[in-house]
Symmetry: C2
Subunit: 335 residues, 2 copies
């Protein structure tokens, strides 16, 4: 919008974005700080990302590096229902890292997924999340998957006393996601995974808001290519909209995030920020049991380690491999 086309002085004063600072970071590369009017966002999360990076995403030499979000917006959205402290309390896992694995491959029917889940649970795992590729597919419909897996995990709990928490992935439209959560809550599930960039940020927050007793894992699907700094998108935006735990690609796995990027994501997710609960960092992607100590050295105790394929690759020894993973996390000397 050409400024010369704006006749209203109040809009020029109060609504038009203002360049507050430009500094050269390195030759030809600049940090630019722009002030936007909070009134342009209202209270809609989709409109937040629209104002921050809607059209600017079309400029292929611009990266959204960071954003300060007004206190009243952050407090209004409210952040995680549980977060780190709440999930520690809910699970009784007070001082160590959490463990997590993933159910896959796609194509398995519900009873086979339930069988895998039971074997993970017998190994003592804390959380079992759906692979992010599992949706409401014909070979494994959501409702049938929930029923089979909750039954299998209930049986393990009755036999061993250990309760593994199943985290199904909710997908589709807002309506479908809400329906899936309602149905699964009736079956006793209390934690769900969402892909905020595919569901849409506004709908993600609506899902969180509509389910106050529930904890949410945010999955980064489609988020990686957005030229939005991951620490901002995951550690601030996903968190302020309600992610209790944020899954992201760990360094040295099959994705390309650097140690600095990973450290910054974890730091931002956990840092005190507008009195929100902290979100638990969940580094993942090609992780293996022999990297547990290295990862705990790097992240400390306030982390959830997620190993999926490498445990499944143990096949008939899946329960033992899971127990070995869990054992390493429990036995680690937290500093």
């Amino acid at each position: 919008m050409p400024l010369s086309a704006i006749e209203d002085q109040q809009i020029l004063d109060e609504i038009v974005g203002k360049v507050e600072a430009i500094s050269e970071i390195e030759p030809g590369r600049y940090a630019v700080r722009i002030a936007l009017a909070a009134a342009t966002v209202g209270t809609d999360p989709g409109q937040l990302i629209n104002m921050l990076f809607g059209n600017t995403s079309l400029q292929d030499d611009v990266t959204l590096h960071d954003a300060e979000i007004p206190e009243e917006l952050v407090r209004g959205w409210g952040g995680p229902h549980y977060g780190l402290a709440g999930l520690r309390k809910r699970t009784g896992i007070l001082s160590r890292a959490f463990t997590c694995t993933a159910l896959k491959p796609q194509g398995l029917p519900p009873e086979k997924l339930a069988e895998l889940a039971a074997r993970f649970a017998r190994g003592g795992i804390d959380y079992i999340k759906d692979d992010h590729g599992l949706a409401d597919q014909s070979y494994s419909p959501f409702a049938a998957r929930i029923a089979a897996i909750t039954e299998a995990l209930g049986k393990v709990e009755r036999e061993t006393g250990h309760r593994a928490h199943y985290v199904p992935s909710v997908t589709g439209t807002l309506d479908a996601a809400v329906r899936q959560i309602t149905d699964a809550c009736h079956a006793g599930i209390g934690t769900f995974m969402v892909q905020p960039m595919i569901l849409g940020l506004s709908s993600f927050h609506r899902v969180v808001e509509a389910n106050p007793g529930v904890a949410f894992f945010a999955h980064p699907a489609l988020a990686g290519a957005s030229r939005i700094a991951p620490a901002l998108l995951f550690g601030k935006i996903f968190r302020t909209l309600g992610a209790d735990a944020i899954v992201f690609p760990n360094l040295g796995g099959r994705f390309g995030y650097s140690p600095d990027t990973c450290r910054e994501i974890a730091r931002t997710a956990l840092a005190p920020w507008h009195d929100l609960e902290a979100a638990i960092p969940v580094p993942a992607g090609g992780m293996t049991t022999d990297r547990v100590c290295e990862m705990l050295d790097f992240y400390g105790a306030d982390v959830m380690l997620l190993i999926g394929g490498a445990l499944l690759d143990a096949r008939e020894r899946l329960t033992e491999e899971t127990a070995a993973f869990v054992g390493r996390v429990k036995d680690y000397r937290y500093g």
Copy 2:
């Protein structure tokens, strides 16, 4: 998922993705063709993008270049309700390019926006879309905007016989978008703009499906940075989900799309594809009236030209500038 962890032969045969071809395009850069099982998508648009580029978006050296979408999915989603042919029929604009402008700046109250709309309409413009920054903000709530603008445009129509079509931007959650469309349809609006990458692809398609009499403009907000080829995302995916017209950054404006990219977007949107209606290409972003002939030389008649800020910049001569723009489009000698 390590293949060695998959025990089920049917999954290995029918579900696991298959690398069909790898060819070196230039030193160090490869085109890789991968076959995915349609069953992994089901019929959910969000799951389509999840399978195509969910986790792969996290690989920062990979671009999603193109995709063939199975006939049954494309036909099931159904594409544009009107498309090029339908909007030509609905508007009576049979052989020339369409004209469009944008209402802004943000911060104007509904009556001021309505006044601008009326002046555009007196200049003979075909479509007046909301700036993509307009949402349901306190200074211009959606319902009040709709009421003021439809009244103003109705008055111009009664006085001049010319009907300009207002295209409000619908935002927020799926529920909010559906409510906005329902209310605006009652006020006589028949065309809406959606930002599919912010609303979420699944919800975008649900909005389209729920409103069979309505035409949709797709806006590229947040889509630019996704390392998904624009011709695929706009010309195929947005189109198959129901976009009648697709807004994209034109070459030589304030965004960086190349002539080849723009030509490919327009070509893909218009090309015969699975019997879908063609979507109208809407190049935009810093366009001016003196570029009309050049743009029509480039795109031909099957296009909608969108000039926003440059018309608004004429201020008291807005109606005359609009008429000059419309005149150039009408007088152009289409080949």
